[in-house]
């Protein structure tokens, strides 16, 4: 990608380029570094028939499913930790058999790894002799096979590679080229981000390249892989962003109070997403600077 291209975009600009029916991979995990900015904008622009994939689904995917944008979920499991289950996703799983393709954390990660390596499948010893596998054989028969190793004869499950149309990942720090640094645990962020056809990072802070160069070993995603950078402080709210802010427990409880019933979920979407024009308005609505300061991470703790 040319060095003089301005890669810093607004989320609205990026989401406008995503067609209905696209396969989107989101980088959140339960209540940590969820792609809230992206989910909100996808809902504002009312994208349709999306396929969503994620290792451990979280708030970002639950929002999209609850708002009716998703026709298929490919996932390893998930919840909102002690705040509750992913009610919207679970309702979809209850009412539409086969709607979700359920794997495990590692097998989703391996599917992304295969995509990121440019190979079409990857062997594993997970999922054998389980009903998880039975269901995949029923609902996703083209995505799995069994095979004996040609060298040892051992039986393996083969997982088809995942290659999303566009991947989003929320990071703490990126420069204008997209060199992105993640602090804290990073689950399948790297394999996922590098598996797709397009990659967009959402960053808490936009920093000069010279800052990246101080600790280049922390660069999980190098800039040449990144198509666009969206700069949005508190962009993962109400999920946590290690070293920047804690999850917003009050807002997560409020979310679950709406998400647990199909009838009350539209109230949440109408007020907090469709009722705000962008993430700045959303942040004002959920408590503004005062609330963001409440959840700001303590230096020693990182939360």
């Amino acid at each position: 990608m040319a060095n003089d291209a301005n890669k810093v975009k607004t989320v609205a600009e990026v989401v406008q380029t995503i067609p209905d029916g696209a396969h989107i991979a989101l980088g959140g995990f339960a209540i940590n570094r969820c792609n809230i900015v992206v989910s909100h904008e996808l809902i504002r622009q009312q994208k349709k028939d999306l396929t969503l994939s994620q290792g451990v689904v979280g708030l970002d995917t639950d929002l999209l499913v609850g708002a009716g944008l998703v026709k298929r979920c490919i996932m390893g499991g998930g919840s909102l930790d002690r705040f509750g289950p992913v009610h919207c996703i679970n309702r979809a799983r209850e009412t539409q058999p086969g709607w979700s393709h359920d794997y495990s954390s590692l097998t989703i990660c391996l599917k992304y790894l295969a995509g990121a390596l440019g190979i079409s499948f990857i062997p594993t010893k997970c999922l054998m002799s389980s009903e998880v596998l039975d269901r995949l054989e029923q609902f996703a028969p083209d995505d799995i096979r069994k095979m004996k190793c040609p060298f040892t004869g051992e039986e393996y499950l083969l997982l088809k590679a995942l290659t999303p149309d566009i991947c989003f990942v929320h990071v703490q720090v990126a420069d204008r080229e997209g060199n992105s640094q993640i602090s804290g645990a990073r689950w399948e962020n790297e394999e996922q981000a590098k598996s797709g056809k397009r990659l967009v990072v959402v960053t808490e802070e936009l920093v000069p390249t010279e800052y990246i160069q101080r600790n280049p070993e922390r660069t999980i995603i190098p800039g040449h892989r990144v198509e666009a950078i969206i700069h949005q402080p508190f962009g993962a709210h109400p999920s946590a962003c290690f070293d920047y802010y804690d999850y917003d427990a009050d807002h997560l409880r409020l979310y679950v109070n709406h998400s647990k019933k199909k009838e009350t979920f539209p109230d949440y979407v109408n007020k907090y997403i469709l009722g705000t024009k962008d993430h700045w308005e959303y942040l004002d609505l959920v408590g503004g600077l005062k609330q963001m300061n409440e959840i700001r991470a303590e230096k020693l703790l990182g939360y």
Binding site: G58, D81, E191, A240, L301
Partner: protein
């Protein structure tokens, strides 16, 4: 001091199953409490792995889940699924997995995906996440599940993670890990017969009647001649659990006055 809670007996019993120096993949909730308790008592060199990408979390505040940054605190390594679940667990170096579940059956298979009510209505929960990976690959697995007929049924509503499916050996099931070694409930500690893999009573918790254990188990439970009484948590176990590991009773439940 308040009366000993059933959860405290479960956590202490599970922690005693963990040996010093072992590499342990741990799920959130009571499994995490058991692992932290072991590390602060008899197993200071135990290595705890959390699927999200954390090694040796030394949480100062009780995490609400694996994804809670409280679970990242004072870790000795922060990495990824691929590192923890791939390069450690799939590689075959993990000694123990400690898992909770919605249901467990008499061969140590567990369900973390969905529950079915009596009319057959299905309610989904979390799914596998790292559970299937851990149950498939760890050298042995400790399960922590509440004890009632519904949670310990003959047939699971969904077999998310395999133990000894239909009593078959792990080799026959094409699985590498050693399978479940203990099922710890709020009434008893249960093991698995080395030949038949059938659930076999090991010990009954203090003040619990054997008949109550049998009555509240949905699957067939083998009762050997020498059933022991589970040891209570030590005063130091209780102090650690109540003052340091779960002071707000997030996982251990409401405290009861001494009866």
């Amino acid at each position: 001091m308040a009366a000993v809670r059933a959860t405290e007996i479960m956590v202490a019993a599970a922690s005693r199953e963990l040996r010093d120096g072992e590499v342990v993949v741990v799920g959130i909730g009571l499994p995490l409490m058991a692992c932290f308790l072991a590390k602060r008592t008899h197993a200071p060199r135990l290595i705890s792995l959390s699927e999200i990408g954390v090694i040796n979390s030394d949480a100062k505040d009780t995490p609400v889940g694996v994804a809670d940054p409280r679970n990242f605190y004072r870790a000795t390594c922060r990495s990824s699924f691929l590192d923890i679940m791939g390069l450690n667990l799939h590689r075959g170096i993990v000694d123990v997995g400690v898992l909770g579940a919605l249901e467990a059956d008499g061969f140590g298979n567990i369900n973390t995906t969905l529950i079915k009510d009596e009319e057959g209505n299905i309610r989904y929960w979390n799914g596998s996440a790292g559970g299937n990976d851990t149950a498939s690959l760890a050298k042995r697995v400790i399960l922590i599940v509440r004890h009632d007929k519904r949670k310990l049924p003959k047939t699971l509503a969904h077999l998310t993670s395999p133990g000894f499916v239909q009593g078959r050996s792990r080799e026959q099931l094409s699985l590498r890990g050693g399978g479940p070694s203990r099922l710890i409930t709020d009434k008893a500690v249960i093991g698995f017969d080395p030949q038949t893999h059938q659930a076999t009573l090991v010990s009954v918790h203090p003040e619990i009647e054997l008949a109550d254990v049998v009555e509240s188990t949905g699957f067939e439970l083998k009762i050997p001649g020498d059933v022991k009484v589970t040891a209570l948590p030590t005063p130091e176990d209780l102090r650690l659990l109540r003052e340091e590991l779960d002071p707000n009773d997030l996982y251990l439940g409401r405290r009861k006055a001494r009866s």
